[in-house]
């Protein structure tokens, strides 16, 4: 639905066409997007999670009260 929402406007259409052309090499691939989303399996998500949500990829920020003041 998010993809559909985007391509409802001329702004979203041009943005997506450009994005697919630049990042995926061909604007025509945009038309396969709904199908590609449909084909994603649980295992695919797990693989991506394993690859990217690794400790070495982690950045941690800590918010702390300044107690000295």
């Amino acid at each position: 639905m998010e993809f559909y929402n985007q391509v409802e406007t001329i702004n979203g259409k041009s943005n997506n066409i450009g994005t697919y052309e630049v990042f995926f090499g061909d604007y025509k691939k945009m038309f396969d997007a709904p199908n590609n989303y449909n084909n994603i399996k649980v295992a695919d998500v797990q693989n991506v999670a394993k690859k990217y949500f690794a400790k070495s990829n982690r950045t941690v920020g800590v918010l702390k009260t300044n107690t000295e003041e």
Partner: protein, 459 residues
């Protein structure tokens, strides 16, 4: 050779005329309108660009029907999603969420609305859920109490933000006892008293098909959709007697300058509205007024923002707008400034408005505003949700396709003489209502300069 050239000329001429024709103005896409025997008005518009469907429904169930129970219309609209005959609240939320769909319920000043968007393939499931929400809500008491305490906390939080409450104060000041003065979300005292029985009785009185409309726009076949909706919504019982619409009573706009001073003890700045009587939505000069207001206070480079932000640095932003309702409306200049520059900012705002009246506008700025308004127009009616909303707005405010189809003409035909007439007719000149939210101790003297002051503490 000569013949070929002739042919080319003919083709060129043809193309020229054709492209000219297609550039001639906007057209409201074709749609069907029909009424069920129970009085429900239905609009269907096919749009096959993207496989989605948007729904917009309006019902005579806004804050103007609250009677003494301010906030009731709002809570009732929210409570529609607290579960239905066949779906508990969590089941309902899950069903909608799982397919990436959306259903929202809300109440505004005049009407309650249900809006929804989903993938075309999910239409049967979603149309059924919309029907459940509208026709078969069960009003779970535990969920109601949660919603009510959330609303009370929300109202409490709004006191922190002058901008969140100033509109309610202004509407009270301008509309007085007329129902257009009703606060949409109510106030602490009124909401505290609301019960689940109030909600049920409000629902039973106001959620009826005969003064309501549903519009559906998107990727479907009109013929199929028509029979689906007829099957789903024909069981909806119409009300026995016509709902009394208190909003049609005449509005007593104040005849003198009034100032509502809203004290916020910890304020370092003053947030203010300067306003007056405006126009109802179906005013025939609606478009022309929009053009002039764009110039005066609508866009970033407007006269107001130029003077108060750019030239004097009194504020971060200043603007004006016409808030239009069915039977009336308001005009508002709004901005905010540091407590100590309160007087300078109010005087400057009035000065810019006065300049609009005395100097009028020139050809160059009128052209620029016209271009701006035309350029902004098409993306406002682009998506299925925008079109669905447009159709229910047309129903509620009683305007037709000519708003879209004559839009360019109405903008283009506005010449300097008309423009200056519009200014004289619709932009206030003598009587203003002021709401100042700020630290009373610092600005009370200033407030008294502009009219009779009523002082209250931020609610």
């Amino acid at each position: 050779m000569k013949r070929i050239t002739q042919k080319l000329i003919v083709i060129c001429l043809f193309l020229f005329t054709f492209s000219n024709l297609s550039a001639q103005g906007f057209k409201l896409p074709e749609h069907t309108k029909f009424k069920l025997p129970n009085g429900l008005t239905i609009y269907l518009m096919e749009q096959h660009d993207v496989p989605v469907i948007s729904v917009s429904a309006v019902l005579p169930a806004g804050a103007i029907y609250d009677q003494e129970k301010n906030g009731l219309a709002f809570l009732t609209a929210k409570a529609l999603k607290h579960g239905t005959k066949n779906f508990s609240k969590s089941k309902l939320d899950e069903e909608i969420d799982f397919i990436g769909a959306f259903i929202g319920t809300d109440a505004s000043k005049e009407f309650a609305s249900v809006s929804s968007k989903f993938a075309a393939k999910d239409q049967d499931k979603m149309l059924n859920l919309i029907k459940e929400i509208l026709l078969d809500p069960v009003f779970d008491v535990a969920e109601f109490e949660k919603e009510k305490s959330r609303l009370l906390v929300g109202l409490e939080q709004q006191k922190e933000s002058p901008r969140a409450v100033i509109g309610d104060y202004f509407d009270k000041l301008l509309y007085g006892n007329h129902v257009y003065g009703n606060e949409i979300q109510g106030n602490n005292a009124s909401v505290e008293k609301l019960t689940i029985d109030d909600v049920k009785s409000f629902y039973n009185t106001n959620y009826k098909p005969n003064q309501a409309a549903i519009s559906i726009v998107g990727d479907f076949s009109t013929k199929e959709m028509k029979s689906k909706l007829t099957a789903l919504f024909s069981k909806w019982k119409k009300s026995e007697n016509e709902l009394e619409n208190l909003a049609t009573k005449s509005i007593d706009y104040p005849a003198e300058n009034l100032v509502m001073l809203v004290n916020k003890d910890d304020a370092k700045e003053t947030t203010f509205f300067i306003g007056a009587k405006g126009i109802p939505r179906n005013n025939p000069d609606f478009v022309a007024i929009e053009v002039i207001n764009t110039l005066f206070g609508g866009r970033f480079t407007s006269m107001l923002n130029d003077e108060l932000r750019v030239n004097t640095g009194l504020t971060y932003g200043a603007g004006s707008r016409f808030n239009t309702l069915k039977n009336g409306g308001s005009f508002i200049i709004s901005t905010f400034t540091a407590s100590k520059t309160t007087e300078a900012a109010i005087d400057k705002s009035l000065e810019v408005l006065n300049k609009l009246h005395t100097n009028g506008i020139d050809e160059k700025s009128l052209t620029s505003a016209k271009n701006y308004v035309k350029g902004q127009f098409p993306p406002r009616y682009e998506t299925t949700s925008q079109l669905a909303n447009l159709l229910t707005q047309m129903f509620w405010y009683n305007f037709d396709a000519s708003f879209i189809e004559n839009f360019e003409k109405n903008v283009d035909s506005l010449d300097l003489q008309n423009a200056n007439q519009i200014i004289a007719d619709y932009f206030p000149q003598n009587i203003f209502q002021f709401v100042l939210v700020g630290k009373s101790a610092d600005i009370k003297k200033i407030a008294e300069k502009y009219g009779k002051v009523t002082e209250v503490n931020i609610k």
